[in-house]
């Protein structure tokens, strides 16, 4: 338990890019000048950000600064919102995610997502995890796949005797871990987590956080959180978003992106410092 409360290992982005482990330098997302409009509203503007393989990247910031909008661009979930316009470029492993030939369904298959509110299907625990792989043609050794996903989500021991029970009978924290199991059962390359613990109690939250440390070995994780302590506990890199008000026009901007340690102990931007020290937000 104590492990999850220590500050994440110090990784200096600049240093990491220069030397460090080669995996840290492997770019997963390269985002340039990302601007998102919903109708006439600008949600975020001009975001440049890089996400690295097997690293946990946290997105923090006050409510309404576009954190969720940002993360939903990474697997094209924003396509489902009518009136969304996306400018700028998101390169995923070197390929433009929004190029005309790209199939958003295939994007979502490779980039999984866990939502703020646990949303298990009204099916059995087994089917919640097994349905995705079955529909997507990964029918071979389905039992093993389900077990592996549930183990990875640290849920197996709690549910192995009642796999046929309805998933809605699980507690909130268990439901959220089930959603994580469901997401990793289809073997995505990246896992996006949109405030995965915001509706959970502290014990369930720390279970999810420990789990993220485990998942880091196999996945690249991006987590949105409005809980700064959580970002400090789990993330290697932290991006601070804020709301910029420019004559009546409000939009989210990326203020600072650096190692988590730097963001929380010695931020270079005054706005970041104000936020992490609790002066606003």
């Amino acid at each position: 338990m104590t492990g999850s409360f220590t500050i994440a290992p110090v990784i200096d982005v600049a240093q990491a890019r220069k030397d460090a482990q080669p995996s840290l330098r492997e770019l997963v997302f390269d985002i340039q000048g990302l601007t998102v409009n919903y109708g006439r509203l600008t949600a975020i503007s001009g975001v440049d950000l890089q996400v690295y393989r097997n690293v946990i990247t946290a997105i923090i910031g006050p409510s309404g600064c576009g954190k969720s909008t940002f993360i939903r661009c990474l697997n094209r979930m924003n396509d489902l919102v009518p009136g969304t316009r996306i400018d700028g470029q998101i390169l995923y492993q070197g390929a433009d995610l929004y190029a005309s030939g790209v199939d958003p369904v295939e994007v979502r298959r490779r980039i999984g997502m866990v939502f703020q509110k646990a949303n298990p299907f009204p099916k059995s625990i087994y089917d919640n995890v097994g349905w995705g792989p079955r529909v997507l043609g990964m029918r071979k050794d389905l039992d093993e796949r389900v077990e592996k996903a549930l183990r990875s989500a640290a849920l197996w021991d709690e549910v192995k005797d009642r796999l046929k029970k309805n998933a809605l009978s699980l507690s909130g924290g268990q439901q959220q871990r089930l959603c994580i199991a469901r997401a990793i059962a289809v073997e995505p390359e990246v896992l996006l987590l949109d405030e995965p613990a915001s509706a959970l109690d502290p014990i369930a939250t720390s279970a999810i956080e420990e789990l993220m440390h485990e998942l880091k070995r196999d996945y690249t994780l991006v987590i949105v959180t409005h809980n700064m302590q959580q970002a400090a506990r789990v993330a290697d890199l932290t991006a601070f978003f804020s709301l910029e008000v420019d004559q009546d026009r409000r939009s989210g901007v990326l203020v600072e992106y650096d190692s988590t340690n730097k963001i929380f102990t010695n931020p270079s931007d005054k706005r970041t410092e104000d936020y992490v020290t609790g002066r606003f937000g």
Binding site: N75, M77, L80, P82, V105, E106, V107, R108, R109, R110, G112, M113, F115, K117, N119, P120, F121, P122, K123, W131, G132, V135, L136, L168, C179, R182, A183, V186, P188
Partner: protein, 282 residues
């Protein structure tokens, strides 16, 4: 205070008026049920359900041919209206862009409000003129009546499925149609059945379209849908025009049977809906 007193009195008066209105509605149904039962119950017997209509001028006989015919007509109509209605609702809630969904919605609402005599004469012109009356023409007319009812009911339950479930499925990289089949429909089967049962209850009593399409039928049990099928609504209509008081009583009894079926169907629909609600509630 005076004003306060006035408000209290107005409130009380309106409460009484509303209660009386509700009682009137219940009373209307009670009067219909009681008067039909009083006049028809005497004709109910085992023979009434199992024997076909008596030959002209002969005593006795039942409504077996009309029961079978109505069952066949409604079954056939459901087979036509259910898939189209459900798919229409799926299109409207899951696939259609807004600028198409709105006009289609209007069309369906208009269809639901279309007088059944209009549907009857339309099907008469389409399928009966130049051919003969037939069971499938009657069933088609009933299906036109059922279609908007099923589509509307299905649409309402599909909208009850939380959008977070759609997101969960789409975020797995599952295509929309598979999402509909695997996540959305299973959560709404109960509601779709409810709507279908109500549409069946409605169609089983429709008379006007069947007068045009399936009203010249024989006295024996008929299951060939290319021929006109006997049915309860038209039988009630025919018998009520006969001079024989025994046939009048049979018409009332047939009406009682029809009403009993509609009542049972409505109760079944309510039970189904309650079950599907609890399934989605958590």
């Amino acid at each position: 205070m005076n004003r306060d007193r006035r408000r209290r009195i107005v409130n009380r008066a309106m409460e009484v008026v509303a209660t009386v209105a509700a009682l009137v509605a219940v009373a209307v149904l009670a009067i219909v049920v009681i008067s039909v039962a009083r006049r028809g119950a005497g004709a109910l017997s085992w023979d009434f359900f199992t024997k076909p209509q008596a030959l002209f001028g002969q005593p006795g006989g039942g409504i077996a041919n009309a029961l079978v015919g109505t069952a066949l007509l409604v079954l056939l109509a459901t087979a036509m209206a259910l898939p189209v209605g459900v798919l229409t609702a799926i299109y409207l809630t899951e696939f259609a862009p807004r600028r198409l969904a709105v006009p289609i919605q209007v069309v369906i609402d208009v269809l639901a409000g279309l007088p059944t005599i209009v549907i009857g004469i339309f099907v008469y012109a389409l399928l009966v003129i130049g051919h003969t009356q037939s069971g499938y023409a009657g069933a088609f007319a009933l299906a036109v009546i059922m279609l908007p009812l099923i589509a509307r009911a299905t649409q309402e339950v599909l909208l009850l499925v939380p959008s977070t479930l759609r997101e969960a499925s789409l975020a797995l990289g599952v295509r929309r149609w598979r999402t509909v089949l695997g996540v959305i429909l299973p959560s709404s089967v109960g509601g779709i059945l409810t709507g279908t049962v109500l549409a069946v209850a409605r169609a089983s009593g429709e008379t006007a379209p069947l007068l045009f399409t399936s009203s010249i039928f024989g006295n024996s049990v008929q299951t060939d849908v290319t021929k006109p099928l006997a049915n309860i609504p038209v039988l009630i209509f025919d018998y009520s025009e006969q001079p024989d008081p025994a046939l009048h009583q049979q018409a009332w009894a047939a009406a009682l049977v029809l009403m009993g079926f509609v009542l049972l169907a409505s109760l079944a629909a309510k039970a189904l809906l309650a079950r599907s609600r609890t399934k989605l509630a958590r």
